[in-house]
C-alpha cells in the first residue's frame, strides 16, 4: 500500500527525469550528425564561417550533385552493394551453422574456435593487406568484387557466429526436441521450428554484415583498382578535396547505413537472444 502511494507521488517527477534522460541521450547522438549535415550542405562559406551559428542557413545540395555526376560514383555504389551482398550471404551461410553448433553443443575445441573468431577482430586488417593482396593476385581475385566480399566476410564472420549463437540460444531447445518427437527429422525440425523463430535475429545479423562491409575502406581500396567500392572511391577522392566536399562525402557514407538500420530496427534487439518477455 505504502509503496503504491509513494510511486504515485513520485511518478510525475520521475517521468520527467526519465524523459529528460532519454531526450538528452538522443540529442547526444543526433546533434553531431546534424552538424555534419550542415557542414555538408552549407557550402564553402559555411565551413569557414566563424563563429558558427549551427543554424541551417544557406543550404545547397550542390556538392552532392557534383558527387553523383562524377564518373564512377554510380558504378562504385553498385560495387559496394555487390560486395556487401556477398559479405551478407557468405557470413550467414558460414556463420549461422557455427553459431548453432556453439549454442547447442559442448565439444572440445569450442573455446579455441571462439578465440579464433575473436582473433579476426583483434588483428589490424590493414597489416594483412600485403600478403592478402599477393595471394589474391595469384588467385585471380584481385580487383574483383568477389575478392572484396571475401575479405569483408572475414571481418563480418565473427559477428555472424557470435550473434547467431545468441539467437539460437534464445530458441528453446525443448521446441526442437518436441518436433523430433512428432516425427520430424533433425533437418526438418531445424527448418520448420528453429529458422522461423531465429529469422528476425538473422536478418539483424545480415544488417550488421552489411554495415561492416559498407564502411570498410582499407582492404577495399588496396584490393581493387578499377572496381572500387564507394567508400574506397570516396576516400581517394575526398582526402584532398575542400572541406565542404568532405562533409558531403561523409554524409553520403552515413546515410545508407542509417537507412538500413532503420529498416530493421525492429529485429535489431533480437540479436543477443529473443526477448523472453
Amino acid at each position: 500500500m505504502s509503496t503504491a502511494m509513494k510511486t504515485a507521488g513520485f511518478s510525475s517527477s520521475r517521468r520527467l527525469l526519465l524523459w529528460s534522460g532519454i531526450v538528452a541521450l538522443c540529442a547526444w547522438v543526433i546533434v553531431p550528425i546534424y552538424l555534419v549535415a550542415i557542414g555538408a550542405l552549407g557550402g564553402r562559406t559555411g565551413v569557414y564561417q566563424w563563429p558558427k551559428t549551427g543554424l541551417p542557413t544557406g543550404l545547397s545540395i550542390e556538392p552532392f550533385l557534383l558527387f553523383l555526376k562524377t564518373e564512377g560514383v554510380v558504378q562504385s555504389f553498385l560495387n559496394s552493394l555487390g560486395a556487401a551482398g556477398i559479405t551478407v550471404t557468405l557470413s550467414i551461410l558460414l556463420g549461422a551453422p557455427a553459431g548453432y553448433a556453439l549454442a547447442r553443443y559442448t565439444f572440445p575445441g569450442k573455446d579455441g574456435y571462439r578465440l579464433l573468431v575473436l582473433l579476426t577482430r583483434a588483428f589490424p586488417l590493414a597489416i594483412l593487406a600485403l600478403p592478402l593482396t599477393v595471394s589474391f593476385i595469384r588467385l585471380g581475385l584481385y580487383d574483383t568484387i568477389v575478392g572484396v566480399g571475401l575479405i569483408h566476410t572475414v571481418l563480418a564472420l565473427p559477428f555472424a557466429a557470435l550473434v547467431t549463437q545468441g539467437i539460437f540460444l534464445g530458441v528453446p531447445r525443448e521446441l526442437e526436441e518436441a518436433a523430433w518427437v512428432f516425427g520430424c527429422t533433425r533437418i526438418q525440425a531445424f527448418f520448420k521450428v528453429v529458422v522461423p523463430l531465429a529469422l528476425p535475429g538473422i536478418v539483424a545479423t545480415a544488417v550488421f554484415a552489411f554495415v561492416i562491409s559498407w564502411n570498410e575502406v582499407f582492404a577495399a581500396s588496396v584490393l581493387t583498382v578499377r572496381n572500387r567500392t564507394l567508400t574506397a572511391y570516396l576516400l581517394t577522392v575526398l582526402s584532398e578535396s575542400p572541406m565542404h566536399y568532405r562533409f558531403a562525402g561523409g554524409l553520403l557514407l552515413i546515410l545508407p547505413s542509417v537507412i538500413f538500420i532503420f529498416a530493421v530496427r525492429r529485429y535489431l534487439f533480437a540479436i543477443w537472444g529473443i526477448s523472453s518477455k
Partner: protein, 425 residues
Amino acid sequence: MKRLLSFGILATTVAALASPSLAQTVFLSTQLRPIEEATVVREEILKGLDAPVDYIVEEPPQFAVRMEAERQAGKHTISLVGALHGELSPIADKDALEPLDTLAAKLAEAGMPQSFLDLGKLGKSSQQYIPWLQATYVMAAHKDALKYLPEGADVKALTYDQLIAWGKAMQEATGQPQIGFPAGPKGLMARYFEGYFYPSFTGGVVRTFRNADAVAGWETFKELWSVVTPNSTNYDFMQEPLAAGEVMVAWDHVARLKNAISAAPDDYVVFPAPAGSKGRGYMPVIAGLAIPKGAPDVAGATAVIEHLTKPDTQLLTATHVGFFPTLNIDLPTDLDPGVALLAGAVKATQSAEDAVISLLPVGLGDKGGEFNKVYMDSFQRIVLQNEPIADVLKSQGDVLAKLMADTGAACWAPDAASDGACPVE
C-alpha cells in the same frame, strides 16, 4: 531473408556485368587526386590520345602496398604510374621499373633540363622515371598580416629573424600565434627540415646533421615555434587553416596551398621561404611517370608519357593544378590568378640570390620513410618535448648514420659529394 539474399546476388551480378571490360591503359597516380583535378585529367588532359586511358588515383599508402603486391605476385594490372620521386624510389630499388632511356633521350632533345632527367635515374644507370611535373614549397600570407611585418623587412626576401619578429608582432596584436606549419601526420614537415631548415642553417642535410650550426639553427627554430600555432601538429594541408582564418602565415607545398589561394587570390601574398645563416634553402618536388616491369600495355603507357610531356599538355596541366612543367617553357599569361601567384613565388625562390638548392634524396630506396622519421623524431624531441638539443642530435645522428651506412646512399646537394655512403659528421 530470402529476399535479402537474392537481392545480394542480384546486386553482385549487376555489378559484375556493369564493370568495364575494355582493354584500357590503366594509369595509376598518387598526384592530381582531388575530384576536380582528376576530372580535368580525364576529360581534358588525356583527351588527345587515340587509345582510351583509365585514370585512377590512389592514396600513397595504398599505392605502395599495391605496387609491392603486384611485384611479388608477378601479375600486373597497371601499365603506367604517376607518383612522387620519393614514392617511386622504393619501387626502383627493387628493380621493378622499365628502363626509359629512349624516351629520356628524346625529351632531352625537346628541352627537358638534364638535371631533372638525372633525378629520374634514382641513382641507377638507366632512366627509371620521366619527370612529369615539378613544384616546390613556398610561404603564403593573408594580406592582413602584412601590416605587422617588421620595419625594413621585404616579404619577398625574409630572414628567419624577421619571420620570428613578424610572428611575435602578430601574436601580440591578435592574441594568438598566427604562423602555421603542416606538421600533422600527412603533412610534409619532414621536407621542411630536409629542404629548408637544414640547408638554410647548415648548408647541408646529412653531413651537417649535428654540427654546431645545426644546434644554433634548432635554437632559432625553437624561438620561431613559440609564435607558431600549436595546432600545427594537426595540420596536413595548410590551405584549410589559411582559408578558415586559423593562421595568417603558412609554409607548405604549392599544391597544398592552392585551394585557399585560388579561391581568394586577392587576399593573399605568396613568397619564398626565409633565409638562415647559410642562405635560402629550397627543395624542388618532382612527380614522375614510370612503367612497372611486366606492365600489360607498355606501348600504350609510352604513348601516354609522350603525350603528357608535350609542351601543350604540360601547359594545360599547369593551368589547372598547382604543379608546373618540367619542360623548359614559359607559362601562359592567362593563368588562373591563384596559380599565377604561386608560380611567381616559385620563380622568386629559384632565382633568389642566396638560394641553396636541396635535391631530393637519392639512393635511399625504401628507407625514405625512415629517413624522414629521423628529422621528425628530432623535431618532436627537441621542440615538442623540450629535450636538450645536443643530446637529441647525437642519438638521432647515430640513427641517421646507420641508415646511410645500410643504404650506402652517397651525399646529394647541398652536401658535398662523398665516396660511398654519406657520412654524418
